[in-house]
Symmetry: C2
Subunit: 642 residues, 2 copies
């Protein structure tokens, strides 16, 4: 056994014993050291780059490590085997997906504006903040020798009178509390009820004088990122907001690899635990601390996620999704409760799922479509959700058509060597000086924060700028040289945005030709999907009135740049609207508004799904799109003009 030390940039370290021949990535996992490996450790993505500081490793040489880097000690953890004692430095970027749960600062108005906007848009069409939860005050006569009704009947009788209902349901948990609460409060209580057409379910009962806030929980389960908010159910106020990497990422960057993992022994449980126990429950705990709310006082939860995420979240076999005829276990269900899957909120809390409509268009899209409002307009609009993969919805008040394209995780920083989520240290916007090739960028986080990687919006900007400055060719190859453009021994170029000394990391923040190639294929998948879907309807790009772009890829997208690289259609810029994480805001609307919930089900019922792979021209279209901006430059007249 040899001692292996993992050091972090923040200065702390972890020590573990390993055996000769052990994979360094596995050793790190055993030591609970988070190192991203979206390719599942196949030396394919190059994200698990760590630095050998002392000792030796038996490391396979890969194209992800240049000679220069190799000499400096850089190795891929997945391609390295233990040979003896070693000290390994783990740069922040190597664990950027996993380690950072971020609880948002709600004093920042931009953080909540997007939700206020969504709420206002929905309210404008009559979908008001009104849900089935209500706090009701109930006053009873105390019992006496002449009035010996037991506690549950006494309370039910008074509640029925108060709310004028015939049927009241008290679960075991409430009956258990009644003797104490009634006597402590001298029979003056308040209770939280869920009122439906048929009955009234009582969640909890407290002395009338007790101050209680009724919480709700919204979760957007992305393949890469999980975002969440705690909501005041009676006012709609956002009490806390957080995001974190989806803990499942170590089992694969995409849904297919994760489904395959579930088919291994204990796999379903492993994937469910990764998202619930490792990701969601800690977020709930943190947010409740921030909001000063008891976790048990969260009584309703809404989840939006893609179809596979929904299955894995519920611990349900998702394997049939990936095999013909691609049948999920469910599109929707109204019989899921927090206790069923051990979400640490009130055990009786109802979990609402934004409905899936197919194996590859899930609740994140139906929830997003709700807040895009495209279902409410006579004009034709396009809704684009850039998550891990991309999904499109096109239509208007009369019809909605959706499709999914295999864009991969590049928009969220996956498949990109210095890619990361839009969290502290991520470059989210960038310009490059054409002359000097020097970059200027904005970094997510407090003022003065140093960059450690690039999030989706930053990558779009960098590629657009590199192209505009003539640093890369339309095929994404480096064609200029300079201090910031470097090449490895094979001549493969890369552009350094921040040298280690300027960066908040021991590692240069850079983008290389492989990254650019990955990103071009991702944006090509989006644009070819738009073209294919419109063609199938005999529509033309010019008929798109508005484009709503969603996704947690940064605080916004520079739409001009997105058009410049051929990702979005070349229509007037004012028609593009960035609507943030619409999956989260859609779930938020469903949580607080019963009418919004119904509307989402209606949208799901009316949305048709188009399988792109069944369209013969799609592949040709895709290949034509893998170019900056496109092989057919006439499709991008404004770019051509510049």
């Amino acid at each position: 056994m040899y001692p292996i030390t993992f050091q972090f940039e923040q200065g702390d370290a972890v020590l573990i014993d390993a055996t000769k021949g052990d994979s360094l990535l596995e050793v790190a996992r055993n030591a609970n050291v988070a190192i991203d490996a979206p390719c599942s450790g196949n030396a394919a993505c190059g994200k698990c780059k760590v630095k050998l500081v002392a000792g030796n490793l038996d490391s396979q040489k890969t194209s992800h490590i240049s000679d220069e880097e190799y000499a400096a000690g850089w190795r891929l953890a997945c391609a390295s085997k233990v040979m003896g004692a070693a000290v390994i430095m783990v740069p922040d970027i190597a664990s950027a997906y996993k380690s950072r749960m971020k609880v948002a600062d709600l004093s920042s108005p931009e953080e909540i504006k997007i939700f206020e906007d969504a709420k206002a848009d929905l309210a404008a069409v009559g979908l008001t903040i009104k849900n089935s939860l209500q706090v009701v005050e109930v006053t009873m006569n105390p019992p006496s020798l002449d009035d010996t009704l037991p506690d549950n009947e006494r309370f039910s009788r008074a509640l029925k009178q108060t709310i004028n209902r015939k049927l009241v349901k008290l679960p075991y948990t409430v009956i258990r509390e009644l003797p104490d609460v009634l006597r402590k409060s001298s029979f003056q209580v308040k209770c939280l009820v869920r009122m439906t057409n048929n009955d009234c379910f009582v969640y909890d009962v407290w002395p009338a004088t007790q101050n209680v806030r009724i919480g709700g929980l919204v979760i957007d389960i992305g393949t890469t990122t999980v975002s969440a908010m705690i909501i005041h159910m009676l006012t709609g106020e956002i009490l806390a907001k957080a995001s974190a990497g989806n803990g499942q990422i170590r089992y694969g960057a995409d849904v297919i690899n994760r489904i395959i993992e579930t088919t291994r022994p204990g796999g379903e449980k492993r994937l469910q635990d990764a998202v619930i126990e490792e990701t969601i429950n800690p977020m709930i705990e943190q947010m409740c601390k921030t909001a000063g709310l008891h976790q048990n006082h969260i009584y309703r939860m809404c989840v939006a996620g893609n179809t596979t995420m929904n299955h894995l979240f519920m611990g349900i076999n998702a394997d049939p999704i990936r095999m013909e005829p691609y049948i999920p276990a469910f599109f929707k269900t109204n019989s899921l409760y927090a206790s069923d899957i051990h979400i640490n909120i009130n055990p009786d809390a109802h979990i609402i799922l934004a409905p899936n409509i197919g194996s590859y268009v899930g609740g994140d899209i139906t929830a997003g479509t709700l807040v895009s409002m495209i279902w409410n307009k006579p004009e034709f609009s396009l809704f684009i959700d850039l998550g891990t993969n991309g999904e499109l919805v096109f239509g208007n008040a009369d019809f909605l058509m959706s499709c999914a394209c295999s864009a991969g995780p590049a928009f969220e920083g996956g498949d990109i060597s210095c890619g990361m989520r839009a969290t502290d240290g991520a470059i989210e916007a960038c310009t490059i000086d054409k002359e000097t090739m020097e970059p200027t960028f904005e970094v997510v986080g407090d003022e003065g924060i140093k960059p450690i990687g690039l999030c989706g919006s930053g990558i779009i900007d960098v590629i657009a700028e590199l192209y505009r400055c003539g640093i890369i060719s339309p095929k994404g190859k480096f064609v200029r040289d300079g201090e910031r453009v470097r090449r490895d021994q094979y001549g493969v170029g890369r552009y350094v945005l921040a040298f280690a000394k300027e960066a908040g990391s021991i590692k240069d923040v850079e983008i290389n030709e492989t990254d650019i190639d990955n990103f071009i294929r991702a944006k090509g998948a989006i644009f070819s999907a738009i073209r294919t879907m419109l063609s199938s309807l005999d529509f033309d790009i010019s008929m798109i009135e508005d484009v709503y772009v969603a996704g947690g890829i940064g605080s916004g997208i520079n739409m001009e740049n997105a058009v410049a690289i051929g990702m979005f259609p070349d229509i007037p810029l004012e028609r593009f609207h960035y609507i943030g994480n619409s999956s989260l805001s859609g779930a938020y609307a469903m949580l607080i508004s019963t009418e919004a919930e119904r509307k989402t089900y209606e949208i799901a019922r009316n949305m048709t799904y188009m399988e792109l792979s069944a369209v013969p021209s799609y592949m040709d279209e895709f290949v034509a799109c893998c170019f900056l901006p496109h092989t057919d430059a006439t499709l991008f007249p404004s770019v051509q003009q510049k």
Copy 2:
């Protein structure tokens, strides 16, 4: 620390370290050695008698130990303190309540006759074996690219067609199973549903070819004894039967002491665990093994118990029950599920409670009244349940009146030095030769089994016979002497039924004046209650057409003897009917028959409760009854005649 060894009659032993001054009863509890102490260790009941085999104890001398016994090493565990190393022999009788879970032999026809009778009686008045559980076969078309309905909708659609219902509820647990079961079975399944007027809830789904038995569980939670059965829900067949001591007994023999224990920190949980984790769940496990049934395949449960037992079972504060105005948390509830209180059966199984009607007349009595059938007759009948305490119901098809009397646990062997439950080794019937004073008795268990104690029916016989033979006076004092009648240094007599050498124990099986006194007070409580209740209605004993006696006090009661000691009214013997454990058979009826369940609720609604302590004459009546058979001998003409 000194080593204390507890030896058992079966030869095994337990060793534990104890500190000087520790109570031996506490040391035994810490070592998980079951020693009965129904008086909670106050040296009051004398049941925790153990034998010091080696070493020393600092033992308080009590009236429960004669000089002779003391010399032989007998000590009360509760009145003994550790002084040094010691070896303690624990006789079987000292742990008779706790240690013996008995799983019944269903090949014995008497074991099931009583339930067959109850079923037949109920069927005769139209309460048939028909409950809401049904097994339904469902056949679906497998999905294809043209028919991509998700699994849950496909299954629901087919089920709705099969059962002709509009609403079908699939819980999470079923959705989770669907993908595997549908594909394993080629979409030919069967499922267990609960059909109500409004909807259809699906519990489970299996391949159509799989053999599944649908189980139900019946539990009678007595203060002293817990009895249970597993039932085939579709046929009513009894698959297994068991009984065990209620694990709560170490916290007090009666409900009041147990309620007091719940008010101590962690008390509610402790009492609930004692009955569920220590008593009921092990019984379920054993019975399921016997029946060859999966615990998860028990889908419905019915519980009958007194009001306090129901509260402690549910972990609900019972303290208001014992204090004016004596208000329980509930009489009935239909919202209790197995998972709420961790009963190890199907977590979605509905738990039905036989309804309580007051703080001291509970579900055991309403369930018992159901099977007594007194509610169906024009004649007036009396139903007597002899459990820990006694409860009476008097009435006919037009009215029902009930009362409870503080008879204590003597009928179940509590408060009697050699008392035990009616399980292996219990003397359940006895005659005594008037000349020789030699006893002849029947012992529960296999042929040749030796006695270790006396159960309720045995005690009745022994006292009746001692009185008939002139061995004891009408006041219960020993007035003859002989080999079997012994007296301690204070002159207090006892009758030895079996000397240790004849007995299955190291301890004589005997009955002493304290026991007889306790029992006379118990039987006096019953008879005075009968008299008081009838008087309040201006009824006379002669107007009782039939008496139905219930209680697990033995395989039967010698009614002639029960009348002879003045426990039951002196009416023709053919009017007495022993109906066994009617709480259990009532719960059985409620479990398998929805109509019987409804009828029990109706009985509970119509039953009035009479508080004996509020009747001024009751106390005088009771004192007059504490005599063999009664101070007013004219009330027992047949006894007088003999």
